[in-house]
């Protein structure tokens, strides 16, 4: 089940990213030809924040976020592991707080209309609580896994290198 969800999330993120490119490209061509599409840029920006959080969540799952392990790398395994667990709990608290206050803000924003498109601004704000909740779930899953296998929460083992990314 979770496997299906992960694939669905990944496919959705890819489609949204492609849609953003197409929307902006068409808007530019349309404007040049004298048929401006005012809503397309608005929709592109709305989709963008969702792509950001879906991508960030995927990166969290693959433990691909940039971190500075310069100082903790030299520590023995056990203290390093405890630091990671502590950081993961802190991060969870932060993301849950973000999700809750984000939810409240989204409810408040329901009336505000976005750009010239007539879409509710809540669609933009909603990405923050949803994204924070997704990241919290992913960190929780990584944390449970770390507790079981004594692996790290935010760093992959060195053998599994991130070979498919531009960022190394």
């Amino acid at each position: 089940m979770s496997h299906v969800l992960i694939s669905a999330e990944f496919l959705l993120a890819k489609l949204l990213l492609a849609a953003i490119v197409v929307l902006v490209f068409i808007a530019a061509i349309g404007r040049t030809l004298g048929y401006p599409l005012i809503w397309s840029i608005d929709v592109a920006q709305l989709l963008f924040i969702w792509v950001c959080f879906l991508g960030a969540n995927r990166a969290m799952r693959l433990k691909a976020h940039i971190g500075v392990d310069l100082f903790v790398r030299k520590l023995p395994r056990t203290p390093r592991w405890f630091i990671e667990i502590g950081l993961a709990l802190l991060a969870l608290a932060f993301l849950v707080a973000l999700a809750v206050s984000g939810y409240r803000l989204t409810v408040l924003n329901w009336q505000r209309v976005y750009g010239d498109s007539g879409i509710s601004y809540a669609w933009v704000t909603a990405a923050v609580p949803v994204g924070a909740a997704l990241l919290a779930v992913t960190i929780a899953i990584n944390l449970v896994h770390a507790l079981r296998t004594r692996s790290l929460v935010f760093y992959a083992d060195r053998s599994a290198e991130r070979s498919d990314s531009q960022l190394g």
Binding site: F10, A13, K14, L17, I20, V21, V22, V24, F25, A27, A28, I29, T32, I41, Q45, F48, I49, V51, C52, F53, L54, G55, A56, N57, R58, A59, A64, H65, I66, G67, V68, D69, L70, F71, V72, R80, I83, E84, L87, L90, A91, F94, A97, L98, S101, G102, R104, L105, L108, V124, T125, A127, V128, F154, Y155, D164, S165, Q166, L167, G168
Partner: protein, 425 residues
């Protein structure tokens, strides 16, 4: 404010991913202020995504991944090989030239460094180049990629500092070429001294050069096409990234006939991942940005700096020195996001063109990712080629010195940087 910075550095050095460290320290400002509602913090995150120029980040990241699937990278390597492998230190020269050519299609130094370390690195070490020298040539050379447009760093600087991205792009061309010349000179000097031979004995024939250039024409024409798209008024500088992606797909499908549906989806997937990594830092830094403005940090720093001296050049050198030191310890994206809004008003007040300053700032900050102790490009290259940081450091010194000389030269002669943007925009 002090607590915010303390928390940020503590969390970051304990190993929390940079995005979360910056998000949590920013959030702490709202939690402990007592008077500012948390909702405003959330609002900052959402607002950070709603800037149109920022869309250039996903576009150029995706364009870079698409290019890799279209055979453009592979053709540029072949082209660089033919052009410079006859020089002393031939393969290292190929690295530097390749970084320059890749600069025209890719916007990320780390991406370029990782690619070269995988493809060219092992071959160089096998032919007797020292590991440290190989890593240094690749890592420091990738700074050229970040300077030549399109450049992710310049997009971010333009976005945060409200500076024309089109002018910044044009301004990056000449500094990038100067860096190339300086680094190739260093390679030549070191190679002569150590007897690193050229890879081929003879100069390439005119026909071979012509064939390699024609083969790589769609890659070499790419920056020209971008410029044309902007100048013809079809695309704004913020939209040109969408054109870059479409160009890559068209070249891959119809001209090189190498881009399949699977590799297209792969590129999208890799793009999603990188966008997630970069953008989470940018979005979550929205809260720190608000805190900085709320506490009037830019004004305070400006007042303090302008109190030190009224000489524009002295202040600018001071700022650049500060950035150089900060770059040793802080990741470059974070530095750009946090320091651009502080420094741009200062240097503008002094009469320095923000485009000129942007090139200097980006070069120095990006150089930080090639130097210890915190340097993403350096770690990437050294871990791929299994090189110790000490060995890297010694061998990278002449390269870093050459880059600093170029930056110093550019600081003293703004006309060199501003020539193209003034001519064309």
């Amino acid at each position: 404010m002090l607590m915010l910075w303390g928390l940020f550095f503590l969390l970051m050095f304990l190993g929390l991913p940079v995005a979360l460290a910056i998000g949590m320290s920013g959030f702490s400002f709202f939690v402990f202020s007592g008077s500012i509602p948390l909702g405003i913090g959330v609002q900052q995150i959402a607002t950070a995504s709603q800037s149109f120029p920022l869309l250039a980040v996903p576009f150029f990241v995706l364009a870079g991944h698409m290019m890799n699937k279209t055979g453009i990278t592979h053709r540029l390597i072949a082209c660089s090989n033919v052009l410079v492998s006859w020089m002393a230190g031939g393969l290292a020269q190929v690295c530097i030239l390749l970084s320059t050519l890749m600069g025209g299609v890719s916007g990320s130094a780390v991406a370029d460094a990782a690619m070269e370390a995988r493809i060219l690195g092992p071959d160089m070490i096998r032919r007797g180049y020292s590991k440290g020298f190989t890593c240094a040539a690749i890592a420091v050379g990738s700074l050229i990629t970040a300077t030549i447009p399109p450049s992710l760093g310049l997009i971010l600087y333009g976005f945060v500092g409200n500076v024309s991205i089109g002018r910044l792009f044009l301004a990056g061309v000449i500094p990038g070429l100067l860096m190339m010349a300086a680094l190739m000179t260093v390679v030549w000097l070191v190679a002569r001294k150590r007897g690193y031979h050229s890879a081929t004995k003879e100069l390439p024939t005119g026909r071979a050069v012509w064939r390699a250039v024609v083969d790589a024409k769609w890659a070499l024409l790419f920056p020209v096409a971008l410029l044309f798209g902007i100048r013809a008024g079809i695309f704004t500088p913020s939209e040109i990234g969408a054109f870059a992606v479409v160009y890559a797909v068209v070249v891959g499908v119809f001209l090189h006939k190498e881009l399949t549906f699977e590799s297209f989806m792969e590129a999208l997937g890799e793009g999603v991942l990188d966008v997630g990594v970069i953008m989470l830092i940018i979005l979550l830094s929205g809260m720190v940005g608000y805190a900085l403005i709320f506490e009037q940090a830019p004004q305070e720093v400006a007042e303090w700096m302008l109190g030190l001296s009224q000489n524009p050049l002295a202040i600018m050198l001071l700022v650049l020195l500060f950035l150089l030191v900060a770059g040793f310890f802080v990741e470059s994206t974070v530095l750009v996001l946090l320091l651009t809004p502080i420094f741009v008003p200062i240097i503008t007040k002094l009469g320095v063109d923000p485009v000129h300053f942007g090139i200097l700032m980006m070069s120095i900050v990006t150089l930080g990712s090639m130097t210890p102790p915190v340097g993403v490009a350096m770690y990437t290259v050294c871990s791929i080629l299994d090189c110790s940081i000490e060995e890297y450091l010694v061998e990278s010194l002449p390269f870093i010195a050459a880059i600093l000389a170029v930056i110093g030269f550019l600081a003293l002669f703004p006309g060199v940087v501003l020539f193209l943007p003034n001519l064309l925009m």
